[in-house]
């Protein structure tokens, strides 16, 4: 069940990606509307991270194409932001939280330009938005997992983009930090930004996302959360994992009662 939209912010057409000749994504085809908060869901190894890495040009694809704002990625880089998985970098790197956030401005700087006053102020503002201003000059290894994730979000905010791809921003984050991050994502969406998030926790999907992609090598479904987040499609996506799915069916049916207090 795949819902297509008019004037999509993201258009992915027949995208196939292979890794060492084994296909990881197969014929993925979807569109995303502007202002959506999108959850990308699927079991481990479904290709969720691969999908956003391919759209961001980190991984080559074997066929198909993706367009952002109806254009090639290289034409709209300054309007797109990518947040990698927290575990993908070495946090022992000698840098402060502020140094990392300032990297969000590098895309708009030329090769040899130094960051200007406005760039530095922007970086500080973004740290403030994620509640990390007090930790600006702390070395990043001395931050907790949740604080590191907030630094990554601040760096993305510093890019001042219109479209955000985030790879598991809630991994290893405690409940209160997750709530803070989620508030920021929701306020971004209300300002017309589009945010796509690779997500693991099925319990929070209904509460968090307005649009859902269900992925398991092939795209199972793409559409509004209330239309797509149902038992049969989830079963096709996660297949076989019965204990999980029986819990899921409860969730789907009793959606009036939020499982997670906010």
């Amino acid at each position: 069940m795949i819902t297509h939209v008019e004037n999509p912010v993201v258009e992915v057409h027949d995208l196939t990606v292979s890794y060492h000749k084994k296909p990881v994504l197969w014929g993925v085809d979807f569109t995303l509307p502007q202002g959506a908060l999108v959850g990308i869901l699927g079991p481990n190894g479904a290709g969720k991270s691969t999908l956003i890495k391919t759209i961001m040009g980190l991984i080559p694809h074997s066929s198909g194409f993706s367009k952002l704002f109806g254009k090639e990625l290289s034409e709209v880089r300054n309007r797109v932001s990518y947040v990698p998985q927290r575990e993908s970098v070495d946090w022992d790197f000698p840098a402060s939280a502020y140094d990392v956030v300032l990297m969000g401005r590098y895309g708009k700087l030329g090769l040899f330009n130094r960051p200007r006053k406005a760039d530095k102020e922007m970086a500080m503002n973004c740290l403030e938005k994620v509640g990390m201003a007090d930790f600006a000059h702390r070395q990043i290894a001395q931050l907790s997992g949740g604080q590191q994730q907030r630094v990554f979000l601040a760096r993305a905010l510093a890019q001042d983009a219109d479209l955000y791809f985030m790879d598991e921003p809630f991994a290893g984050v405690d409940a209160s930090t997750e709530a803070i991050l989620m508030d920021i994502l929701k306020s971004m969406v209300t300002r017309g930004k589009t945010v796509a998030v690779v997500h693991h926790d099925l319990q929070s999907v209904k509460e968090y996302f307005s649009w859902v992609l269900l992925l398991n090598m092939r795209l199972v479904a793409s559409g509004k959360t209330e239309e797509v987040f149902q038992e049969e499609l989830l079963q096709r996506t996660f297949g076989g994992k019965l204990t999980l799915l029986s819990k899921m069916s409860e969730l789907v049916h009793k959606n009036e009662f939020p499982v997670r207090e906010s």
């Binding site: 000698p94 990297m103 290894a141």
Partner: protein, 298 residues
């Protein structure tokens, strides 16, 4: 202090600082042994350059060696990515292969080549002032010194101009690609500088000292600093003091200059390690305990 003493210390300091600056990026990229690999795998380059040109002109040798240094870094990357071999294993595979090819070429075709193994490994800095660079017919000073100065200026310029690019490519290559930065171009640029530096310096000071200067000052600086710019400056200072201190230690003990410089650098690392322990008792040293990786997964 004699003029020749000054030349030795000055040349060694330039080389030490250059190696320490590049070493910071190698250590942060977990490629510290790249310098070791390059200093060995340039051997076939030197042998082939000698056979083709039939001259021992050091510029020809330098060219052949640098070309093989760059080839080494390219091959290490390709073996790592395409053959799915771990990066460290890939380094070991490539440089031992190249080194053995070099040994075979020399033993089969160029037995009369004057390639003293001791000299390659330990360097003979006492001889450093002997080979002069000529301007017309006028000797204007030792060649090795000019090489070292040019190299230091080249590396300094590259790092100052491209500091932010190198920083973001080293810390978060995925993010750098998403900004449209060509991470592989910067990788190979850095590795070319490492090749060139390794080749120029090991001719002057020996392979072991090059590896020591690439790894030791930057590792010591890593322990003591929290920002990349500070790490670079501190590594350069440690390298400088190791070179000068090592020279006087060698003078005093009447021992190998390269050996003493390496020892002093090692002492600096020990001091850095101990002072970091004393200053930051609250921050344990092992990765498992820094709270960075541990929280992430479970």
């Amino acid at each position: 202090m004699h003029f020749s003493d000054f030349i030795i210390v000055f040349t060694a300091s330039c080389i030490a600082i250059t190696c320490a600056l590049l070493g910071c990026f190698l250590v942060l990229r977990k490629m510290a042994m790249m310098g070791d690999a390059i200093s060995h795998s340039v051997l076939p380059g030197i042998a082939i350059a000698y056979l083709l040109s039939n001259s021992r002109d050091s510029w020809v040798m330098l060219l052949g060696a640098t070309a093989f240094g760059i080839l080494t870094t390219l091959l290490i990357e390709q073996v790592h990515q395409r053959m799915r071999v771990q990066e460290d294993a890939s380094i070991g595979l490539v440089f031992t292969a190249f080194f053995s090819i070099g040994v075979i070429i020399i033993s089969a075709y160029a037995e009369n080549i004057d390639l003293d193994q001791e000299c390659v490994l330990y360097g003979e800095m006492v001889h450093l002032p002997l080979q002069s660079l000529y301007w017309g017919k006028q000797a204007i000073g030792p060649m090795a010194m000019y090489n070292a100065v040019v190299m230091l200026l080249l590396v300094l310029t590259a790092i100052v101009l491209a500091f932010r690019r190198l920083q973001v490519c080293t810390f978060d290559p995925g993010f750098a690609v998403s900004l449209g930065i060509s991470v592989s171009v910067w990788h190979y640029l850095l590795m070319s500088l490492v090749s060139f530096t390794t080749v120029v310096s090991f001719e002057a000071v020996g392979a072991i000292l090059v590896v020591a200067f690439l790894v030791v000052p930057s590792s010591a600086a890593f322990l003591l600093t929290q920002r990349l710019s500070h790490m670079l400056v501190l590594a350069a200072l440690i390298a400088l003091f190791s070179a000068v201190g090592g020279y006087y230690l060698a003078y005093w003990l009447d021992a190998s200059i390269a050996g003493c410089m390496t020892c002093v650098a090692g002492l600096f690392f020990l001091v850095a390690f101990l002072s970091q322990r004393l200053l930051n008792k609250t921050i344990p040293l092992t990765k498992e305990n820094t709270g960075t990786k541990a929280i992430g997964i479970n």
